[in-house]
């Protein structure tokens, strides 16, 4: 049997889009802890290649490293704007740090109705929404893997000064921040 980390690489390569740990565990018939460990191994093995692992919460995706963006840019259809409006950036920051959260939580922090901004972020694919498990009539929002790719990061902790912001913010918000 081939090494699990390579089998994960094969699946991620073919699938292209983000795959959850859960789904990998099902396809490869390995438990989630094994999948996580093998993914860490894959991440290391990719050093020195043009590819990198993008990892957020329970989702994994293969992507090209930022150094190659210029080369592949011409091949990628659908140009992505590099700019974020201030409202979008603020809402995104709140969701990235606090998500998954409901619209009203984002509204409370910003002191303004966020539905328009949320819609824009959803359309750009920088956040995703799910039905709220506590109230089916509302949605919960969280940052997507696309958000990390937009920033050119494999993991959110690679964002410079992330730890510092995390610490500062946790001083205001007593409950723990969302898993990333």
């Amino acid at each position: 049997m081939e090494n699990l980390s390579k089998r994960i690489e094969a699946i991620l390569f073919i699938h292209g889009e983000p795959v959850t740990i859960e789904r990998l565990s099902k396809i490869l018939e390995a438990d989630k802890t094994q999948i996580r460990q093998a993914s860490d191994e894959l991440d290391k093995n990719l050093t020195g290649t043009a590819l990198t692992l993008v990892w957020k919460g329970d989702s994994l995706q293969l992507a090209t490293r930022p150094n190659f963006s210029k080369d592949v840019d011409t091949l990628v259809k659908e140009e992505v704007s590099r700019d974020l409006s201030r409202a979008s950036a603020e809402t995104l920051a709140i969701i990235a740090y606090r998500g998954p959260l409901t619209r009203s939580e984002a509204d409370y922090i910003r002191g303004v109705n966020s539905s328009y901004t949320l819609r824009n972020l959803l359309i750009r694919g920088l956040i995703e929404r799910k039905s709220n498990p506590k109230d089916g009539r509302t949605y919960i929002y969280q940052a997507s893997l696309e958000f990390l790719k937009f920033l050119g990061l494999g993991k959110i902790d690679e964002l410079p000064e992330y730890a510092e912001f995390k610490q500062k913010l946790s001083a205001f918000l007593t409950d723990k921040p969302a898993e990333n």
């Binding site: 992507a63 974020l84 950036a89 920051a93 922090i109 002191g111 303004v112 790719k149």
Partner: protein, 234 residues
């Protein structure tokens, strides 16, 4: 003083207040809040096309600012525990928003500077052939599109009562001048006889404006006494 606020579109009261504080490079506390109070009111006056809910949000924050301002004008003014709490909450929410705003700026700049990662299309290079879905028929497509059309966000209908209409501080000021001149002096409660909360707030704002301009003097009888207004000697 020329207000820059007139040209800028703020996203709600917190954004407005925080921007005003940051413009003056102040820390977030009661003192700075009482300093930006006038700019905030000036901003409220420029707002014309917002929903009633948004107007209410601006006013609620405005009301807390009034509390802060009146405490600086009347040091003996006793605040209820709820009022103290609302001041504290306002400060905390502004501080929190400030942190997120810094974090957002960081993300914004990082995103602009850094190059993105690209991924590949799902099953790139694979040919699956035609895989028709179950349960899809013209009638199903029809009903799906019909639901989508129904849920298309409607352009926000212009609110019937805009903030500009609700808050006419100038009008209220004129009315107050007349009333107080009639009575010459009187307890604050009676002078600001308002029909609803919004009007009460506006009344209070107008009164503070008059006090500031030197039209009136205030006097509080004892620690818990009514605040009395007197026409200032000209």
């Amino acid at each position: 003083m020329a207000y820059k606020v007139k040209t800028e579109k703020f996203e709600g009261p917190f954004d407005a207040l925080l921007s005003l504080i940051e413009e003056k490079k102040l820390l977030i506390n009661e003192v700075s809040l009482s300093k930006v109070y006038e700019d905030y009111l000036a901003h409220i006056k420029t707002i014309t096309d917002i929903s009633r809910a948004e107007a209410a949000a601006f006013l609620t924050v405005g009301a807390t600012l009034i509390l802060i301002k009146s405490r600086t004008l009347l040091p003996t003014l006793e605040l209820t525990p709820e009022e103290e709490e609302s001041i504290e909450e306002l400060e905390n929410r502004l501080k929190l928003l400030k942190e997120f705003r810094m974090f957002a700026k960081h993300i914004q700049e990082f995103g602009r500077r850094n190059t993105p990662l690209f991924s590949r299309e799902a099953f790139s290079g694979f040919e699956f052939g035609f895989l028709p879905p179950e349960k899809i028929a013209p009638a199903v497509l029809r009903s799906l599109v019909s639901k989508i059309i129904d849920s298309i966000p409607k352009p926000d209908l212009l609110p019937e009562h805009t903030l500009a209409k609700v808050i006419t501080i100038e009008e209220k000021t004129k009315e107050l001048i007349n009333r107080i001149q009639d009575q010459l002096s009187g307890p604050l409660k009676k002078v600001i006889s308002a029909k609803d909360k919004v009007e009460l707030i506006v009344g209070f704002l107008a009164l503070l404006e008059l006090i500031k301009q030197g039209f009136f003097e205030v006097e509080q009888k004892g620690l818990f006494g009514d605040v009395e207004l007197k026409k200032a000697p000209l």
